[in-house]
Amino acid sequence: MARSMCWHCQSEVTGEYFCERCVKVQPVSKETDYFTCLGVPRRLTLDPKKLEAKFYELSRTFHPDFYQTKSTAEQTISLSNAAVLNTAYRTLRDPIQRAEYLLALETGSVKDIRTSPPADLFEEILELQDTLEEYRTSDRGSDQGHQLRAALQAEQEGLERRKEEMESQLRQLFADWDKLQDTGEATSPARAERNRILKQMRDLLSHRTYINNIVNDLAATIA
């Protein structure tokens, strides 16, 4: 993950994070992706324990606490390396964020995926928005208020089930992706499979986020 030339002694850096000649810490390169940064394979199913262990180990390597007695240049590197490491861990720790990040890496698209409702839920969600609005303006203590609330609660449960379904579909796609990576084939069916996975993953992630936002909104309104 280090640059090829040591910023300090200009010799070639062969060590992972430190120059082997002058033992100075090296900045994590801007091109380093989070998987490389944390020293884990570019997979979507990661063992959280291993990820955490790696994060702790690298924190011990880069944290500014351990550079207090070093030069200003080394302190600056430690600070920015630690910041990158923290972002990397935060992103990869969460399976959804991890998948969104991988998608961005693989398809080179912008980092945030636009959220959109699943086509089959379009009508239902429009109706739901109306009910929500009605509930917000209704007298919550009244019979009508109670009815609306019950309806919204049922909706919430339904959407949460739907979200769980999507998440299990996503987990399947994650497994598919990892399997494809493990075989390491570059054949044309493999490429087609890769594109299928990425496309489906993108749609699912976008729909899931959309539903997630609605569920949160619902929960906050009827809480």
């Binding site: 702790y56 924190s59 011990r60 944290h63 500014p64 606490d65 351990f66 207090q68 007695t69 600070l79 920015s80 630690a82 910041a83 990158v84 923290n86 972002t87 861990y89 935060r90």
Partner: protein
């Protein structure tokens, strides 16, 4: 590396600690006391700090500053509804509160610096070396301005602040070191002015903060206030006196109810007596623990809201917490313990001294920084989301709350008008949607080369360092040139102002040293005069009359200069008196030896 001390700069009490043989220890004063009351008073002979200043709370209320921590990083508008509680005069200049003491106005960092200096001196005296580096603790929920103000206080006190560390996490360090705990702990820190809750995961020497929350305006002070209000209105009713018209009596009431509150942590009932103004006798009243608890229940319950939020942010349920650690004086209230136990479903841990554990943890962190402790590492988080103002007065979040620090975010800026040469950026902290509901941290203007609209690309990096303090840098992506940014804090001292205060503080330090020497010389002179008087009374008959007269004259000369302001003159006269009395002392010693020998056997002597 020079020694780094750990300092708990509290609202009510402050402490300084150091590391010895792998264990943190508190630096005591000559009398063995560990806490320095965070009180600064302007007395006749200058500014005084700590225990002696505390005595001025009732004698000199308008010249005695307490709870200054509540004002750190704040403007006057922030404390509008509690202004009446403070007997001293507060104003505002440049977004910073100023406190009037005599003829001068002081910013909260300057007052805090006086407390820090007292701690510095205490450590220097005790350890016999000069102290210039420190780790200082702040409430976890302190925002950027409050942290910066604390750092400024350190600078003004002549301390290099190597790290600002959160109080609950400091406590966790001390606790973890002692208990070698693994698992998930919640630190509930309820002191005089602030409340914090932090949830940490302890594993193999790593202290990873999962979430933190709090209220920087909630503490024992608020409990005291409810009691003060109760007593003021009861005295009004029963005695037809409005105590709030008498600042000294109001302070006396505050101190009296606080003592009663503390007694009620051990007793079920207590008597409170309050001296009324203008010799109108005393007001007495019994207060039971039940009465206290029902009065302040709402204050204590307010601490539970941040607890639930922190749990939610950490993605945990109360039952996932393995241990609950209590920190801060107010956790001695039985009601607090009850509510905490009810929330987490397990009795809290209170074997550690809740007054000292934060300072001890700061010393552990200091030891980590100096390379002494290498197996422990604290990974803390930023308590509040950081963002910038965007169109329509909306805050766009860049770094979410509870993100592990150091944390950074990059944002690209461009122009909307041809030839535009600057972009104004407004930095905010908080969890709300709209700019006006969040805390303004600072503003700055990004310099842009005059180009057609949309062409410039300036990347701004917002970096929250390990102190939880924001640093901003910018790079022109077209030229790869970085530009320095001068941030104007919304509620903080400017760099030049801090520099001036540092200079002032050194100037005063010289004056202070002079004042201290004078006081010491006076005290020494007084005790010398007393000793000599006693010697003359006991043994004056053993020397010639002329000699006794010479001694008397020297003594009266010392008496005269003693009340002057020249400590050198006092020391000179003292030397003369000692010289004059030398023979007398020798004669006395001889005499007492002789008399001591009488009636004793030779074998007892050798």
């Amino acid at each position: 590396m020079a020694r780094i001390v750990g300092i708990d700069l509290g609202t009510t009490n402050s402490l300084v600690a150091y590391m010895k043989d792998g264990q943190p220890r508190i630096v005591p004063d000559r009398n063995g006391r560990t806490m320095v009351p965070s009180v600064v008073a302007l007395a006749d002979n200058g500014l005084i700090v700590g225990n002696s200043a505390k005595e001025h709370l009732t004698r000199n209320p308008e010249r005695t500053v307490y709870s200054v921590k509540r004002f750190m990083g704040k403007g006057l508008a922030d404390i509008q509804n509690e202004l009446t509680y403070f007997p001293y005069h507060l104003t505002e200049t440049g977004g910073v509160i100023r406190i009037r003491l005599g003829q001068k106005n002081y910013s909260p960092p300057q007052i805090s610096a006086m407390i820090l200096k007292e701690l510095k001196l205490r450590a220097e005296t005790y350890l016999g070396e000069s102290i210039t580096k420190a780790v200082i603790t702040v409430p976890a929920y302190f925002n950027d301005s409050q942290r910066q103000a604390t750092k400024d206080a350190g600078l003004i006190a002549g301390l290099e602040v190597l790290r600002i560390i959160n109080e609950p996490t400091a406590a966790a360090l001390a606790y973890g070191l002692q208990k070698n705990t693994q698992g998930t702990i919640a630190v509930y820190d309820f002191g005089g002015g602030t409340f914090d809750i932090s949830i940490l995961k302890l594993k193999d020497g790593i202290f990873e903060v999962l979430a933190t929350n709090g209220d920087t305006h909630l503490g024992g002070d608020d409990v005291d206030r409810m009691l003060v209000d109760l007593f003021v209105s009861e005295i009004q009713e029963r005695e037809a006196v409005d105590i709030s018209d008498y600042p000294d009596h109001l302070q006396a009431v505050r101190l009296e109810v606080e003592r009663a509150k503390i007694r009620l942590s051990d007793e079920l009932k207590t008597e409170i007596a309050i001296e009324l103004p203008e010799g109108r006798g005393r007001f007495t009243r019994a207060l039971t623990r039940d009465q206290l608890e029902s009065l302040v229940m709402s204050v204590i319950e307010r601490t539970l809201v941040p607890c639930r939020m922190a749990l939610k942010d950490a993605g945990l349920n109360p039952k996932d917490i393995d241990e609950v650690v209590l920190v801060g004086g107010s956790t001695r209230m039985p009601l607090v313990r009850q509510l905490v136990e009810a929330l987490f479903g397990k009795p809290p841990h209170c074997h550690l001294n809740p007054d000292e554990v934060v300072a001890l943890g700061a010393a552990v962190q200091a030891d980590i920084l100096s390379g002494g402790t290498t197996d422990m590492l604290l990974l803390d988080v930023t308590p509040l989301s950081l963002g910038i103002e965007t169109m329509g007065g909306v805050m766009s979040s860049l770094i979410r709350r509870n993100t592990t620090i150091p944390a950074s975010a990059k944002e690209m800026f461009t122009t909307y008008v041809d030839g535009q040469t600057g972009v104004d950026i407004h930095i905010l902290q908080g969890e709300r949607e709209l700019v006006k509901d969040n805390r303004s941290l600072a503003r700055f203007r990004l310099k842009v080369p005059p180009l057609p609209a949309g062409v410039p690309r300036i990347e701004v990096t917002f970096l929250i360092d390990a102190n939880g303090i924001l640093n901003v840098t910018a790079t022109d992506m077209r030229t790869s040139q970085s530009q320095s940014i001068e941030v104007k804090p919304s509620y903080g001292l400017s760099d030049t102002e801090v520099e001036r205060m540092i200079e002032d503080s050194f100037k005063f330090a010289a004056e202070d040293v002079g004042a201290r020497k004078l006081i010491e010389a006076r005290l020494d002179a007084e005790s010398l005069i007393k000793t000599i008087d006693k010697s003359l009374a006991e043994a004056g008959h053993l020397v010639a009359r002329e000699e006794a007269d010479t001694i008397r004259i020297a003594s009266s000369q010392l008496s005269t200069v003693k009340d002057g302001t020249d400590f050198r003159a006092i020391r000179a006269r003292m030397a003369e008196l000692e010289q004059a009395a030398k023979h007398l002392n020798a004669v006395m010693l001889d005499d007492s030896l002789k008399r001591g020998l009488q009636g004793k056997k030779v074998s007892d002597v050798s």
